[in-house]
Amino acid sequence: MLEDVIDLIVFIAFVALLYFLIHTLAVSPLEREALIIEDGLNELRYDYILSVYLKTKVGNETMLELMIKAKESDAAWERWKNATKPFLKYFKDTYLVLDNRTFLWKGDFHEGFFKIITDIFNWVELFRERPLEGALVTKKFVFDGEEHYVGLFVSDLKIEMPESGIPVIVA
């Protein structure tokens, strides 16, 4: 009787091992491929959305020009906010950064008390330079002879990003 039980246990273990092996060899690469495809499509989608967003006209200016001004001017910031409202739904769970300034934080305007907190974080970080490494989409522009970088980070990317790419640190 004991021998039969051992035989059965060995058989069950063999079948389980076989199942696990097939699952690992066949399904896991597929899941990885699926994630890569999904993230590739995400990148394509956000690249398009950002391109359209930045070239949208607000009066005589493009959104990009308005953002550059909004870095320095409160009035321009308010104009930028009004112009950006129709786009907010496309930027859910994203962080929009121009040069060293965060404009959107998880799809909402980055201002007020929350901005003060993140500014303190950056000060504590001893003004370390944080390039836009890790951004899903990065775009470079030259405006009035100066280079500007726009980066879009997505918080729910399934593929791991490098440590230095965590958007929270960006000013």
Binding site: V15, L30, Y48, P86, Y90
Partner: protein, 140 residues
């Protein structure tokens, strides 16, 4: 002579063995069908989205993301993406703020998926931001 105990033991063993074997067979069949489903599902998503991008990249306008309102017609859609039957991917497009919708000739019933994109709608010299909804009907 074989004892009643030995016969009973044999029956119990084979009963349990059969149950385990059946479970294993069903698990493997399930696993294979899952693999097959995944192999088939992703190309669908990829295909339809890649096709959908052509509507944003110069189908109804000459620049990325720009739609000339007078070119946003069923005829342009048909020229831009021809379908023979419902066995192709079929699309219907709606400009939400402009209140205009165009439907591919083989787009039937309800959509399987929809994608929302911002677009700039140009009507003469007037430009405004709009939302384009792309309704996707998969192969029937």
């Amino acid at each position: 002579m074989v004892s009643a105990y030995a016969i009973a033991k044999k029956y119990i063993f084979w009963t349990i063995f059969s149950i385990v074997l059946l479970t294993a067979v069903f698990s493997f069949v399930g696993l294979i069908s899952r693999i097959k489903a995944r192999l088939a599902a992703f190309p669908d998503m990829l295909n339809e989205e890649i096709i959908a991008y052509r509507f944003l990249l110069g189908c109804f306008g000459d620049e990325l993301g720009i739609i000339e309102l007078d070119r946003f017609t069923n005829k342009t859609l048909e020229q831009c993406y021809k379908t023979k039957s419902s066995k192709d991917y079929n699309f219907a497009l709606e400009l939400v703020n402009s209140g205009k919708m165009i439907v591919g000739k083989n787009f039937y019933w309800k959509e399987d998926r929809k994608l929302n994109f911002p677009v700039i709608v140009r009507n003469g010299s007037d430009e405004r931001v709009d939302e384009l909804i792309i309704y996707i009907r998969r192969l029937i």
